[in-house]
């Protein structure tokens, strides 16, 4: 019998304790959490009160090196394809064309001063597939591939999630390919003419012809 009454008593007291806690929160609802980021020194001084934010209008700032949308700074890309090989989900697709020697200047240098030897007509990142693991970033030799803190990039059409970073248009790429093929053919011919001379440096000084791409 005493257990019966003590049960009722503990029930009543614990329920009352719980209700005090919720009521305290109810009256604490006049305060609101601020939207300072975790790197802010005052972060834990502004977390009291209602803690949700109204997302599109207010948002928790993503930290500066937040790993979200993948971005490629194609100007620095040397087309080494290490990221493509490293990606566990195969979300990066790269096509490269070897630069002909006369185009080296047009191809340019990376910001680190390294001469680029590849045209990258296709550098597609399927951010819908990307799992933001950051492995591609860690292997990139020129640091041209990195995650940006842009977290919200939803699209209505999944095809828009395929980001193109290539630095040549299709027509340009065709022209470059053709040019490379011509040059290689010529080199092979010269090689044949030389009678199988051990790998003479080809360096064919063909007349610099107007690139169709430049005309556009």
């Amino acid at each position: 019998m005493s257990e019966y009454f003590s049960n009722i008593k503990t029930s009543a007291t614990t329920i009352a304790t719980g209700m005090t806690i919720t009521l305290k929160h109810f009256f604490n609802a006049v305060k609101r959490k601020g939207d300072a980021g975790i790197d802010d020194a005052d972060y834990f001084r502004q977390v009291d009160g209602l803690c949700t934010l109204q997302y599109p209008k207010e948002a928790i700032p993503t930290p500066p090196h937040g790993r979200y949308r993948l971005y490629c700074n194609i100007d620095d890309c040397i087309g080494c394809r290490q990221c493509e090989r490293a990606c566990p989900v195969e979300c990066i697709a790269i096509e490269t064309i070897k630069t002909t020697s006369d185009d080296l200047e047009a191809c340019g240098k990376t910001s680190g001063g390294q001469q680029k030897r590849m045209w990258v007509p296709v550098f597609d990142i399927d951010v819908a597939k990307c799992m933001t693991c950051g492995i591609c970033v860690s292997v990139c030799p020129t640091d041209c591939l990195y995650h940006t803190p842009v977290a919200d990039f939803s699209e209505f059409n999944v095809k828009n999630m395929l980001y193109h970073f290539g630095n040549l248009s299709k027509i340009e790429a065709e022209a470059k390919k053709k040019k490379l093929a011509e040059q290689q053919a010529q080199a092979a011919k010269e090689k044949a003419a030389a009678g199988g001379a051990p790998a003479a440096k080809p360096a064919p000084k063909s007349a610099p012809q107007q690139k169709p791409g430049d005309a556009q």
């Binding site: 329920i15 790197d39 834990f44 937040g66 790993r67 566990p88």
Partner: protein, 400 residues
């Protein structure tokens, strides 16, 4: 042997007592009902399906069906490089990514036999203990919601948010970190990190007490979990239970103590086991209590780590990462104490390729869940929900 769980006729039911014995019970001519609970059910924590044979509200037999979230983790691992497996381990137990990564990395490091800088070890322990708190918060919160209390759930998520912010700050991602790498870390922690974690500990202590008062001490909660789903210690061991589940059955078994890794031997913390005063040892309440008490222990570990962590300016956390990870031929079984129990990896390397030829993940939830069939026998449907909640499964880890 008769096929178990099949209802012979309306009045007969077959109950499996243990592996060998089967009793056939006859009682009033009531009809049994097959009730498919899940894969879309609010309290099966994802996509677990339980096929229950029910006699009114009483569950005669519940058979779990898995595989709805099977993502071929082990098959993937055989195709990709060792470092590239790390982000996949995040996705197994997605509530405790850091712990899964730690378990994987120490396993591969064991195979590689390499030294880890001391600062890296400390950071690893801090982040995995933070993640353990976050994971236990989800476990406790969802358990509350299984039992009908909504408010503690959101309080848990409010506090977990700060941990996720902290981890996002250091790793760049909120849940799937890929932060702990084989042989090191992706980044060193920011300058203010220690201070902020310290502030979090001060912030979280009173909140944990409040949660304890609001939920754990609540008489209705206690009544719902007390003496429900009892698992005796020897059966628990035989089932391979680990982590809070095993400790809930009164076995003081914690891999951080019993098979120490990283810097845990240097740290002072308790392994909480229920003493049987507040709960019956091995019931749902014990398991809940173990989780609630473990959060406090994790806070203590974090505090000690913050105090002991060596300061190294311009520390390069990737300095000792091997350029090409190709372990010598051999096999290894490594494990770590995850929030849900022992997470082990069995890795076989042939010494030639840069990806393992076999990588098996011993998932704690998978093993813990395998006792579901025995635990659920003769329970009411609300108790079944309470038991599933107390097992605290993450289907990502069960199905892999």
């Amino acid at each position: 042997m008769q096929e178990l769980g099949k209802v012979e006729s309306n009045s007969t039911r077959i109950i499996r007592q243990d592996d060998k014995r089967v009793t056939i019970e006859k009682d009033l001519d009531t009809e049994h009902m097959v009730l498919s609970m899940g894969p879309q059910h609010p309290s099966t924590h994802g996509v677990l399906r339980l096929e229950c044979i029910t006699d009114g509200e009483v569950v005669v037999e519940a058979e779990p069906y898995l595989g709805y979230l099977h993502r071929c983790f082990e098959k993937h691992c055989e195709k990709i490089d060792y470092p590239a497996i790390v982000p996949y381990t995040d996705r197994m137990d997605y509530l405790a990514g850091m712990n899964s990564e730690l378990a994987y990395c120490i396993t591969v490091e064991k195979l590689l036999d390499i030294e880890i800088p001391r600062r890296v070890e400390f950071i690893r322990v801090i982040v995995s203990e933070l993640n353990r708190i976050a994971s236990h918060l989800v476990a406790i919160g969802t358990y509350a919601i299984d039992l009908g209390a909504f408010t503690p759930f959101l309080f848990c998520f409010r506090d977990r948010e700060h941990i996720m912010n902290l981890l996002e700050w250091i790793s760049g991602a909120r849940m799937l970190y890929n932060y702990i790498w084989i042989g090191g870390l992706a980044y060193d922690v920011p300058a203010d990190f220690k201070k902020r974690v310290d502030e979090f500990v001060t912030y979280f202590r009173p909140k944990a007490v409040e949660l304890y008062k609001l939920l754990t001490e609540n008489e209705i909660f206690v009544k719902r979990t007390y003496d429900i789903g009892i698992m005796p210690a020897d059966v628990a061991i035989n089932y391979g239970w680990s982590g809070p589940m095993l400790r809930g059955s009164g076995v003081k078994w914690d891999l951080r103590r019993n098979d120490p890794y990283s810097i845990y031997p240097e740290l002072d913390f308790e392994v909480p086991v229920p003493d049987g005063k507040f709960s019956v040892v091995g019931d749902c309440l014990s398991r809940h209590l173990v989780r609630a008490l473990e959060m406090e222990e994790s806070l203590r570990i974090i505090e000690q780590c913050l105090a002991k962590m060596p300061e190294e300016p311009n520390f390069n956390s990737r300095a000792l990462i091997p350029k090409k990870i190709r372990p010598k031929a051999g096999e290894v079984y490594g494990r770590a104490e995850n929030p849900r129990g022992e997470l082990g990896y069995y890795i076989v390397s042939d010494g030639k390729s840069t990806s393992p030829i076999r990588c098996k993940a011993r998932s704690s939830c998978f093993v813990n869940l395998s006792a579901m069939k025995d635990l659920s026998k003769g329970q009411l449907i609300p108790d079944l929900v309470a038991i599933i909640g107390s097992i605290d499964i993450v289907l990502g880890e069960v199905d892999r």
